[in-house]
């Protein structure tokens, strides 16, 4: 047990620390914490034309979302779209960025240039990315159409963002392109913690390329892998907003109306703040569930390489 002197010191340090932390905590609480609580309270209220009617309708907003025939189908559709988008995007990002990281892990002359190139999509702002791909997908003069036409793969120019079957894929492709570099760097960092001698030992043990990857590299990369999955899922649920905003605005029809877009629409196009806030709470819940599932399901005993040092 700590002596009285030690306890006094502890309390003094605590007071001192909080004095230092005060400005930062104030920022975060004022601009995030307070609005968050307020948001929860909004979800329980009724809003017409952006103005509170003063009626506290408790859980009606939530029920409407889940059951009301004018709202619920939209909501469930947005869930489907969101999940589809998230699953495909996260898988694509993880697989591609892992591949790129493995490539960059081989030390060869071009690997540094490759690293520099990878910084570019990361640095480009979301909306700018959307604008770039909007131009590439352009149904009249876009370069994607142009390329396919030139190569003789299509007979005529077609639209991507106007086609309900293709629109989501267009967004996925643009999204994946931007977010691969970040994960690639994370994977690369993880790969670099595996000492070369483990690979050499596997080589001496006659493990082929695939066996080495699946039985050595991947298991040792598990902690990083989890982290990338969690981060990418959080991103996928939110960061597509700029793309949807510019490229499809949720359409055509409801083909690309993700939950994030629906919230935006409900809140600012239709000014149904109460409903929007309720949906936002659902979105946050979904995120929390995903993260929890990952941390529990993918977290068996981790055997890090740090366990044995020479």
């Amino acid at each position: 047990m700590a002596s009285p002197v030690e306890r006094k010191h502890f309390l003094r340090t605590t007071a001192f620390a909080y004095r230092i932390l005060l400005p930062s905590l104030a920022f975060v609480f004022v601009f995030i914490g307070y609005p968050l609580f307020y948001s929860i309270s909004i979800a329980f209220k009724e809003y017409k034309y952006g103005v509170p009617t003063g009626n506290v309708i408790w859980f009606k907003n939530f029920l409407d979302i889940l059951t009301n025939p004018t709202v619920a189908p939209l909501f469930y559709n947005s869930l489907v779209v969101t999940v589809k988008f998230a699953v495909v995007s996260v898988s694509a990002v993880v697989v591609i960025s892992l591949g790129i990281a493995l490539l960059m892990n081989e030390r060869f002359r071009g690997s540094n240039l490759l690293k520099i190139a990878l910084l570019l999509p990361y640095a480009i702002p979301g909306p700018v990315n959307a604008v770039i791909w909007n131009w590439i997908y352009d149904p009249s003069f876009g370069v994607l159409n142009g390329l396919l036409f030139r190569l003789g793969l299509i007979k005529d120019y077609f639209t991507i963002t106007g086609n309900p079957n293709l629109a989501l894929w267009g967004i996925i492709f643009a999204y994946v392109w931007k977010f691969v570099p970040y994960s690639a760097f994370l994977f690369l960092a993880g790969l670099s913690t595996i000492p070369r001698s483990v690979y050499e030992a596997a080589q001496m043990d006659r493990a082929g390329t695939w066996r080495t990857f699946f039985k050595i590299t991947l298991p040792l990369l598990m902690p990083v892998f989890q982290m990338v999955l969690v981060i990418q899922t959080i991103f996928a649920l939110l960061m597509h907003f700029g793309l949807v905003f510019v490229l499809t605005r949720g359409g055509p029809g409801n083909a690309t109306t993700t939950l994030a877009w629906l919230i935006y629409n409900e809140s600012f196009t239709f000014t149904r703040f109460g409903r929007g806030a309720a949906m936002a709470i659902f979105l946050s819940l979904i995120m929390i569930i995903f993260i929890y599932v990952y941390l529990v399901a993918l977290n068996p005993e981790r055997r890090s390489v740090r366990g044995q040092e020479a």
């Binding site: 930062s24 920022f27 690293k115 480009i124 009249s140 994370l186 929390i288």
Partner: protein, 302 residues
Amino acid sequence: MTLFADSISGRKRRKQIFTLVGTLVVAAYILAPIAWVIVSSFQKEVALEERPPHFLPGPEILTLSHYGFIFTGNVPKDATIMIQAMYTMSGTFILPAIINSIIIALFVTLVNVVLGLPAGHAFARYRFYGNRPVFLLLLATRLLPAISIIIPMYILLQQFNLLDTKRALVGIYSAITLPFTIWILKAYFQNIPVEYEEAARMDGCGYFRTLLRVVIPLARPGIIAAAIFAFMTAYDEFVFATVLTHTMTSKTQTVVIAALAQGLSASRGLIAASAVVCLLPPVLLSLLLRKYVVQGLTARFL
């Protein structure tokens, strides 16, 4: 598998081919969209409206008029009336919007460094009541989607007459970026031996002097990395900016370029050029300071 596989030299050759092809494919994948938008931005509007597009434009198609418009507002005189009409008013706003974005991002970076540094240091060095929970709580705020708090934010700002101000955005962005900055710096400090600071205390330095003369110089790479991330996050931000700004007093480049791209009759070349100009600040920043960016991206594994 192939006849090369059974010898070291064969294997080496196969690997070289593989990495070469792989690198080319990846490089093409990454650079193609960027290259295309740059090439497009230098082409005359008429050239951009042709099928198929000009992948490698010859000099007769090239022009600087799009960039000219962005920077000076002069519509190219040799263009047809129809094309002139495409240079909509909103096209002139790109430059002021970028300036807004940069100003906001700079202030946000300043706040992050000034507040985040002592905070990260405190979390790393001091044992105090609630150290871990408060830190985790700070990190948890990053998990919140902007959408969740945008509604109350709008209402609140409206009440305080802070809609459409740069100040409001600086405040919000600081709140968003601080937790991450503090996280990076905390991790960085934990990797610097505390003995340096202890020696400084023995040499008579008080809290601020230790911070100024010892801690900051030692943590420079981490500070730069955190600053870069804060800047880029603030520069890129879209959701809050879209909702909370109305006029050019505070509109940032994300908002303007999104609006520009949706304009039904906007000049494509202008859009391309605007996109290029918008992406220049963060891209240049990342390239020049790439050492720090890469370090920051991989810092958690130290």
